[in-house]
Amino acid sequence: MKDYMLFSLKLVNLLLMFSICFTSCKKDKDKLKGEWLIPKSEVLDGGPGKDGIPALTNPAFIAASDATYLQDNDLVVGFISGNDVRAYPHAILDWHEIINDDVNGVSIAVTYCPLTGTGIGWDRNVNGTVTTFGVSGLLYNTNLIPYDRATDSNWSQMKLLCVNGTLIRTKVQVIPVVETTWKTWKAMYAQTKVVSKQTGYSRNYDRYPYGDYKTNNDNLFFPLNPKDKRLPSKERVHGVIINDIAKVYQYYHFTDSMQLINDSFQNTDLVIAGSQPDNFIVSFVRRLSNDTLLTFTPIQNKLPVIMQDNEGTEWDIFGNAISGPRAGEQLSATVSFMGYWLAWGAFYPNAEIY
């Protein structure tokens, strides 16, 4: 019997030594090496791997009347270039996170992170090169890290910055988009096209893939640092970023009618416009390039027109002057987007809350 025991002990010993010596992981190419502008120890592998969540490029679009898969209350990210009006539904973005598109000469990537609720338009023309973005499979502060396919650099969605790779420190050029409900969007822009469910990928677009994540304030899949508890974690806010500092406006502060907030932040005069029933918040710079400071009043029930200035010009939801003395002009857009408070609190510590 001793022989067997001795044999077994030797085998166990061998196994343990082997195991301890050979515990590691390897990737084909060490693309993640090099400098990171965010704490690398807080960057996490989300699980699916690079392109495991497949971004879409130039997907098929259908007319609004054919989009039977969308409910009125479903959120969409809307974009307009000239006469081309497009909607990118969360129902699609939840599964693909990035849609690379060309709209009337504009190369846009609609980047959307389901875990932070942030949908942002990115200019795909980076330093003169038009690229497409893919999903790296990495997360920082539970937020999407896209990579660009031209240089394989990694970008932080909410920092709007390339954080690793040859384009490191390059800033994202944000393209203004509007997040609202499908009902509001198609009411404003009946001619809109919307991303088809025929994406080339087999997914169940009728199902939200993250359970009760959107509404359960206690539900968090990945760490946050810091964790700011001043607001409920899943509260939707509109954040404005100026000089890398953020100020957020709570969605529920907007009432049953079109409402404006004339505000100042970081020495910048802002107008924040929102409506709960129509489910959107947008913001613009109130001071024009010629130093004229406009004062706005809301316009009810005339979407996409949302406000009128003190000179009599009417402005729409994208900041375009529709009628009046400044017709044809456009307000400067803020760098801003909707998102869950949890992410704003983590990415922009001590963010100001209106």
Partner: protein
């Protein structure tokens, strides 16, 4: 009858051992393949058995609840080397120690046609069990049964990084948590001369929480894999020839897991129910050495959300029976040939 009981146990030891399974995960199923590996039998007093199994689990089916999606862009392969020791400390009691070494590969087909590959390898967790042979003093029954309890011990690493970036929990070789393990086994020989045997086995694993998984950034976000229940039932038909004994095997395995949790919250797209069909064959060349080959095919899946799931599995095992002097080993593979060493 003692012969039959012990034979059946031995058979089962050989038969079920590596029906390991994988943890579900939000995006993939891979992970620590131990829970289903407690199918080992009991050893007679003062006997030692060593079983080495190489198991391959290919996961490339993307399943939405019960529907297979037409998507094969992602693939996970889990190679497991399982080494198990069973030692009979007395007539009714056996202690079992199972060690694992895990090699996982994740492949994703990128839009440029290249594959993004990640290879993870390392020592997995181990299982320690004490088993009790319920009918050890009733050797003449055609029934046999045993129960066991123990723990999965987190000796494998669960903090592996790739270029400094922490890998997801289901890609780690270890789970980082102590789990409670419960095991039950029952078998019946139809008649003393009938070559058919029926067997069943159940395991239940109550998982612990790895509080260190996100310790660097969020110590409050402990990771817990879902609890797991498995039930295996099957039949074997023994064929005896002059050269060797062989068994044709066919069994089904039902497995269910609850969802994984992080920070006390359910992780969507984890957990579900599976049913597998397992054909296989045992070959015994002599009293000390046996070989086995089994495959595993999913026949029913009802998963929470969308998950990458097993397409097929196969494993090869070698059983070495270190049989002490003065003891007799009865094996279903040596029916009618009492081996006294």
């Amino acid at each position: 009858m003692r012969y039959i009981i012990l034979s059946t146990i031995m058979y089962y030891f050989f038969f079920v051992n590596s029906t390991y399974n994988c943890f579900a995960q939000a995006c993939c199923s891979g992970g620590v393949p131990l829970a289903g590996s407690i199918g080992t039998g009991t050893a007679t007093a003062k006997n030692m058995q060593v079983l080495i199994t190489y198991d391959v689990n290919l996961l490339k089916d993307l399943i939405d609840t019960g529907t297979k999606l037409q998507d094969e862009n992602r693939q996970r392969t889990v190679h497991s080397i399982l080494t198990e020791f069973n030692y009979g400390i007395s007539k009714p009691f056996t202690i079992t120690a199972l060690f694992s070494y895990i090699i996982q590969q994740r492949k994703v087909l990128q839009t440029n046609g290249e594959k993004d590959k990640l290879l993870v390898f390392g020592m997995g967790d181990m299982v320690f069990l004490i088993k009790y042979n319920l009918l050890w003093n009733r050797p003449n029954l055609r029934w046999s049964g045993a129960v066991g309890a123990g723990s999965k011990i987190p000796v494998g690493r669960s903090d592996l990084t790739e270029n400094g970036i922490l890998l997801p929990a289901d890609l780690q070789p270890g789970s980082g948590a102590w789990d409670g393990m419960f095991w039950f086994y029952a078998a019946r020989q139809l008649t003393s001369t009938n070559p058919f045997r029926l067997e069943s086995m159940a395991t239940y694993r109550i998982t612990g929480t790895n509080h260190n998984f996100y310790a660097n950034s969020s110590p409050d976000l402990g990771y817990k894999f879902g609890n797991e229940f498995q039930y295996v039932i099957g039949a074997a038909y023994t064929i005896t020839s002059k050269l060797m004994m062989s068994d044709a095997l066919l069994q089904v395995r039902y497995r269910s897991t609850t969802a994984d949790m992080v920070g006390g919250s359910i992780i969507p797209n984890t957990g579900g129910r599976w049913l597998y069909l397992i054909p296989g064959i045992n070959l015994q060349t002599n009293q000390k050495l046996s070989f086995r080959l089994t495959g595993e095919i999913p026949v029913y899946r009802h998963l929470s959300g969308t998950q990458l799931s097993t397409s097929y599995k196969f494993n090869i095992s070698i059983l070495y029976k270190g049989i002490s002097k003065n003891y007799t080993i009865h094996s279903p593979l040596s029916r009618g040939a009492r081996g006294v060493f």
